[in-house]
């Protein structure tokens, strides 16, 4: 624990107070101290080119996390509800639904990278050539669309786990409650709102916690699909940190940005804990 967790974390925090650049990074911990300069540059110095890049990445990470987590949880729950009904071939459908989850992120990104290509990709072939839904071929991997180009595969990959997770919860749910409510005249929507949802709350809480952390630390999908610099519309915190640290040798900046991201996640965990404390105790 100390070796693989505490020492690297402390090292990272220490480096965020050092002036590490092309000329000094080889000295690593002996590099000159810069106090809070890295943090000031990122957060407050509008003349620093890294300042804009950082806030752009914060905004993009927020947007990416919001849609990915929202899509994964809502979609996962919806599919779980559908699959919870008795039907023929249920097991087969459930198994097939799990396939995106067992595909590695790397493969997901490569596959979708091809599917999004504006001229030969299957997405535009369906939207433009086969169905004629769109008149002009959108370019997915550049500009504003590139955010959707990474959000959709991320949801696609996260969905099966959320689905199986919720399905387990649904199947463990006592049927008597639903039957009693139905006898009392509650329709499906009201039963979902007052029985299913409250009973799933602890599961939603756990899913939410992990999904947000996973999305905020997402790297593989944007990196593989859009390259080391995904551009101003889809540059996430992790792609920014990795690029500035390892391609540009700005390890001080990278360490400071990493510390800020970690702090943001600590705040998120605290907020989450306050919001769902009751549910956790109940389980």
């Amino acid at each position: 624990m100390v070796l693989v967790h505490l020492i690297p974390t402390t090292g990272g925090i220490l480096l965020s107070f050092k002036r590490l650049n092309t000329f000094t990074f080889s000295r690593l911990f002996d590099a000159p101290w810069s106090g809070l300069e890295n943090y000031r540059g990122i957060l407050f110095d509008t003349a620093n080119p890294l300042h804009d890049g950082f806030f752009g990445a914060v905004q993009n990470t927020f947007v990416y996390t919001f849609w990915t987590v929202g899509g994964t949880i809502v979609g996962g729950l919806a599919i779980a509800l559908l699959l919870n009904r008795p039907m023929r071939g249920q097991r087969l459908v459930r198994t097939l639904m799990l396939t995106p989850w067992i595909v590695p992120s790397f493969v997901v990104a490569v596959l979708w990278g091809f599917m999004w290509q504006s001229d030969v990709g299957i997405v535009n072939k369906i939207l433009v050539d086969y169905t004629g839904l769109l008149g002009e071929r959108p370019i997915w991997l550049l500009g504003e669309n590139s955010m959707w180009a990474i959000v959709i595969p991320s949801i696609w990959r996260g969905l099966p786990f959320a689905m199986i997770f919720f399905l387990a919860g649904l199947q463990a749910m006592p049927q008597e409650l639903h039957e009693a409510a139905a006898i009392d005249g509650a329709g499906p929507l009201r039963r979902f709102r007052y029985i299913t949802l409250p009973l799933l709350r602890p599961l939603i809480a756990v899913q939410l916690l992990f999904c947000v952390i996973y999305a905020a630390y997402q790297f593989a999908i944007p990196y593989i699909m859009l390259g080391s610099n995904p551009g101003p519309d889809a540059d996430l915190m992790m792609t920014l940190i990795v690029r500035q640290s390892f391609s540009n040798n700005l390890f001080g900046f990278g360490a400071a940005a990493s510390v800020l991201l970690t702090l943001a996640m600590c705040v998120w965990v605290a907020v989450w804990y306050r919001a769902f404390k009751r549910d956790l105790e109940a389980t």
Binding site: N21, T22, F23, T24, F25, S26, L28, P32, N48, P49, W116, Q117, S118, D119, R137, I139, W140, L141, L142, G143, E144, N145, L226, G227, N229, G231, P232, D233, R243, F246, S247, N248, N249, L250
Partner: protein, 451 residues
């Protein structure tokens, strides 16, 4: 097995023939090859990148005659391009790594600044020194404002225009004048667009390509712009001349001459689009020439394979044609236990015949002038590349260049995206503001110091 043996014997014979010449470098090679003062039985580790179809095996075969003559063994290790920067940097900083490594020409100043490499100034005269190389190529071994020679050029590439002879014929354009200057370049693309509608006139990769800056800078140089001031203290990428160069590329997109869907792809993918017959004109390096005759390369469409033409880059308003010249150098680690043996290997790899054999295998050009000329004389298309190398230009050899290139790459990418209609609206003001931002970032990087 007999085939391999035959290749090894042939390679040995060629190396011996090369050593038998009259010039100084060859005589020294003979000495090194004869094993004078070299420790037999030691093993040198050489890091190489995926240069040829079988990088490790091909190079191992190439150095077999060296081992046979000197008794010095060579362990060739392959390091992928995606990780080589980190691996070499870490090895240089930690002082633990191979004896020799290949490095991209624009990376040398950065690696040299880390302090983990040998200064070869006292030894390079043995292989002819500066005079044996084209100026642009020799510059890649230096660090601006510092004494010392930190690398030896190994092999070279420059960018030229690839075009489809059949498409030009259909468009009614004479290949001899098609790409003479920037205006005729544009007019040719327009003629292709008008008269040959089933092929895209031109395409280049966008920000996903590692070499986006190499694609754009020739047009900047043509227009009198530059990446940095002459003393390399300040960025000049936002000067009106530089802006004109970047706008030339952006305008190709807005006028529909540049297939904007290529911007989603990386360099290799766009290369395959040309080989597959989707693009009529493309700017690329000499390795594609080498792949034409390789029947197993099925990325080529039949029409494209049979109709490849190469032309030098167009001249700009200043009357000069610029192109990017790059390739790879060899660097010797300071911590090597066998500096003499490592140098002997560098010398062997710099001998004329080894240079020709290896460059041919790679589809690149030798780094040294004499063998370079020989490869240039081998065909009309190779001649265009030989000329390109002679007038080729590279970037200021400063340690921060890699970072500055990244900053430029980001902004060039944004500009091309906006020209393609997927970013901020494209206008001269957009280009200017992106280039201002690039210059600001570059100036910040130039101001970095060790203190």
């Amino acid at each position: 097995m007999p085939k391999r043996l035959a290749v090894a014997v042939a390679a040995t014979a060629l190396a011996l023939a090369a050593c038998g010449g009259e010039d100084n470098s060859s005589t020294d090679n003979t000495k090194a090859a004869q094993g004078e003062a070299l420790q037999k039985g030691v093993t040198l580790t050489l890091w190489t990148m995926p240069n040829s179809p079988q990088p490790k095996e091909d190079l191992q075969k190439m150095v077999a005659p060296f081992t046979a003559k000197t008794g010095v063994k060579v362990d060739v290790q392959e390091v992928g391009w995606d990780v080589q920067f980190d691996r070499i940097r870490n090895a240089a900083v930690a002082g633990e790594g191979p004896d020799i490594t290949q490095a991209g020409t624009t990376q040398v100043p950065f690696f040299a600044a880390l302090g983990g490499f040998m200064d070869l100034s006292d030894r390079v005269e043995e292989i002819g020194g500066k005079a044996a190389y084209a100026e642009g190529i020799w510059n890649t071994t230096q660090v601006q404002g510092q004494e010392g020679t930190w690398a030896v050029p190994w092999f070279t590439e420059a960018r030229s225009i690839y075009y489809r002879k059949d498409v030009l014929e259909k468009a009614g354009v004479d290949p001899a004048t098609a790409f003479q200057d920037l205006d005729s370049f544009k007019a040719t693309l327009q003629a292709i667009k008008d008269k040959v509608p089933d092929i895209e006139p031109f395409g280049a990769p966008g920000k996903k390509a590692y070499d986006l800056v190499h694609q754009v800078m020739p047009f900047v140089w043509d227009n009198g712009g530059a990446e940095l001031s002459a003393d390399a203290k300040q960025s000049t990428i936002n000067s009106p001349e530089s802006q004109a160069g970047v706008e030339f590329m952006g305008d190709l997109i807005t006028s529909g001459l540049f297939d904007k869907s290529q911007l989603e792809r990386d360099g290799t993918q766009v290369e395959n689009q040309f080989k597959g017959g989707r693009l009529a004109v493309w700017i690329g390096g000499p390795w594609v020439l080498g792949s034409i005759d390789r029947a197993e390369d099925d990325t080529w469409s039949e029409e494209a394979r049979a109709n490849v033409g190469v032309a030098p880059m167009p001249t700009g308003p200043g009357g000069k044609a610029y192109t990017f010249v790059g390739g790879s150098d060899l660097m010797v680690f300071k911590n090597t236990k066998y500096p003499n043996e490592a140098w002997a290997l560098v010398k062997f790899l710099s001998s004329d015949q080894t240079q020709i054999d290896y460059a041919k295998l790679l589809g690149m050009f030798p780094a040294r002038l004499d063998p370079q000329q020989q490869v240039g004389d081998s065909s009309e298309n190779h001649k265009a590349f030989f000329q390109a190398i002679q007038s080729g230009r590279t970037y200021a050899p400063i340690p921060q260049w890699g970072q500055i290139e990244n900053a430029y790459k980001t902004r060039f990418g944004n500009i091309l995206d906006s020209a393609a209609g997927v970013g901020t609206d494209y206008s001269a003001a957009t280009v200017k503001s992106q280039l201002d931002a690039a210059a600001k970032e570059a100036d910040g990087l130039l101001a970095q110091s060790a203190g």
